[in-house]
């Protein structure tokens, strides 16, 4: 129970990775550890409002592929959704700044939303996307927030 606030930004793939049985253990374990820390209040999770669309979109996709997604999964999402600090478009982040950031960092607009939120709140961006991390590390853009692979979350 440290009093220093640890801030994380996570994307939908990290959240869903904690629930997927067939993913590499280090990824789902890391994601699980993060969720438990968020639940206990050890870390504060910041997400853009679009996170909700991304998770629900991912679940729709899973269901349409015939995956057994139960009501518990939705309930788990709602449980965490209440704990997240949600950053709203036009209030906490602006389309224009995300657009400029995406062009500057040469990432997608989607990546940039999460990175911009992380930059604003001084959080680390945790992702399951190794390729993105490799790209960002290679290019060392000076104003990027800290980012890390979810498998390394301790």
């Amino acid at each position: 129970m440290g009093h220093q606030e640890v801030k994380v930004v996570l994307n939908a793939s990290v959240f869903l990775a904690a629930m997927l049985l067939d993913e590499p253990k280090e990824v789902s374990d890391g994601a699980m550890r993060m969720l438990l820390d968020i639940d206990s209040g050890k870390v504060i999770a910041h997400v853009p409002d679009r996170f909700e669309d991304e998770v629900l979109g991912g679940l729709v996709e899973a269901i349409s592929k015939g995956r057994p997604v139960s009501a518990i999964v939705f309930a788990t999402f709602l449980h965490f959704w209440e704990k997240f600090r949600v950053h709203s478009r036009n209030t906490d982040w602006r389309a224009e700044e995300v657009f400029q950031a995406a062009l500057r960092w040469r990432v997608s607009y989607y990546d940039a939303i999460y990175l911009v939120v992380a930059q604003k709140v001084g959080a680390t961006y945790w992702t399951a996307d190794k390729k993105l991390l490799r790209f960002l590390r290679q290019h060392r853009f000076h104003d990027l927030p800290a980012s890390a692979w979810i498998g390394d979350y301790r």
Binding site: G57, K65, R67, P68, Q100
Partner: protein
């Protein structure tokens, strides 16, 4: 790879002012739309093949069904 990036150039301002002027007169019923779109393409368009297809492909993947083949009848 596009190098222009986000920073607005000085002539962007003039270009947008010209756009507003043209749109205003079209709204008043003056001017010709065909000519407008030719001008539009010379100034605001992006060259590159398959961009729309790439965009639609991502949307398609999110559907979970493959529209080329029939949706799988998977028993769970």
């Amino acid at each position: 790879m596009a190098k222009s990036k986000g920073k607005p150039r000085a002539d962007d301002k003039a270009l947008l002012a010209e756009l507003d002027k043209r749109l205003a007169s079209l709204q008043e019923g003056k001017g010709d739309w065909n000519e407008f779109w030719l001008w539009w393409d010379e100034h605001f368009a992006i060259k590159g093949k398959g961009i729309l297809d790439g965009f639609l492909k991502q949307k398609e993947l999110a559907r979970g069904w493959d529209s080329k083949s029939k949706p799988k009848r998977k028993q769970s």
